[in-house]
């Protein structure tokens, strides 16, 4: 198999490259993250948490995650989101 050099596309607004955003998952739910260009953050829709990207360095520290309002969450599977949220922080806080 021929190895192809990876082309890393950097999203200038968020400051995170495309390949990196594809390999990262939420540290709590282990579900995929979504890049939010508007807020410059990585969103875990599974548990409704936002992680900031500062100076191009993603901050995936659970205690620094911000719980999102319901409207900001895209819902692929509400049961998964509830299960993950209840297991990690039953009080609703990080």
């Amino acid at each position: 198999m021929v190895r192809v050099s990876r082309v890393l596309l950097r999203d200038a607004r968020v400051g995170i490259n495309k390949t990196l955003s594809e390999i990262l998952v939420c540290p709590l739910s282990k579900q995929p993250l979504r890049v939010c260009e508007e807020s410059g953050s990585l969103i875990s829709d599974a548990i409704g948490v936002s992680y900031p990207v500062v100076d191009g360095i993603p901050s995936l520290v659970p205690k620094d995650g911000k719980i999102l309002a319901t409207d900001d969450i895209e819902k692929p599977d509400s049961d998964v989101a509830l299960d993950s949220a209840n297991k990690e922080y039953p009080s609703g806080t990080l």
């Binding site: 990876r6 890393l8 998952v25 282990k30 100076d55 360095i57 901050s59």
Partner: protein, 258 residues
């Protein structure tokens, strides 16, 4: 002799930026994080000075033991200012990828600055991530190799960290964990203690970091021996684990295979 990779913080200090007292153990993860952030500006220089440059050799050995090769995706946990990440980057090349991971943003900023100053083309394959070693933001079986230099001793929940390393490693791949050796030989323990008391702490005092390094001795005493590290790795699920003593026995490197 000692590199300054080990810092502990007091548990009950309400001000995370205040220097810890020597009488209080450094227990809280937040305090450890603040401590590493405080020493970030002098970290590299003091590592070189105190180990007489030997830490560079130990780190090359750690990378070699990880069996990282061209094109691999590799993870350096508790990367600090990036020494191991840069070595891995040279090894995996531009077709590979290196993630440098740490809980101190200040250390990561130093690493990022070094990356931009060093200008080697292959260093473009390194990405820095701030996070918690006990809650890794990676899918299962993501990496061909993991390294951890002077980090495991500073993680509060070492079992959880080992479990996470196991989870994100590809089957058949290795983790290479370099740290101080907690020796069962009194001679080695005495040498380590003497060096910390009479070299490390006086030098650190010159940088206003005496208290940060005064815990080094207890940190090593609280760490696991080579045999205990092997046992921890096997209990975690690694198929093979071997601890090598290097640097005349004052340092050790655990190699575990998933």
């Amino acid at each position: 002799m000692a590199s300054l990779h080990f810092l502990l913080r007091p548990s009950s200090n309400p001000n995370p930026l205040a220097l810890p007292s020597r009488s209080r153990p450094v227990r809280c993860a937040n305090e450890r994080q603040a401590l590493f952030s405080r020493i970030a500006p002098v970290y590299d220089n003091l590592n070189d000075f105190l180990s007489l440059g030997q830490h560079r050799i130990w780190k090359r050995m750690a990378v070699s033991w990880s069996r990282a090769k061209r094109g691999d995706d590799v993870l350096d946990l508790c990367c600090g200012s990036g020494d191991l990440a840069f070595l891995l980057s040279e090894r995996v090349g531009s077709d590979g990828k290196v993630i440098g991971f740490d809980f101190s943003r200040e250390q990561l900023l130093v690493a990022s600055s070094r990356q931009h100053l060093l200008l080697k083309a292959c260093y473009k394959n390194i990405e820095w991530i701030e996070g918690d070693a006990t809650k890794l933001p990676f899918s299962d079986c993501s990496f061909d190799a993991i390294t951890m230099g002077y980090g495991l001793r500073n993680v509060l929940d070492r079992c959880k960290a080992m479990q996470e390393m196991f989870r994100v490693l590809k089957p058949g791949s290795r983790v290479s964990i370099l740290d101080f050796n907690k020796s069962s030989k009194p001679f080695i323990t005495s040498i380590q203690g003497w060096m910390i008391d009479n070299v490390v702490v006086p030098v650190a005092t010159g940088y206003g970091l005496a208290d940060e390094y005064a815990y080094l001795k207890s940190s090593v005493q609280e760490f696991l021996t080579g045999k205990e590290l092997e046992k921890l790795a096997l209990e975690t699920g690694f198929s093979d684990a071997k601890h090598y003593e290097i640097g005349g026995g004052i340092m050790g490197n655990l190699v575990a295979k998933r």
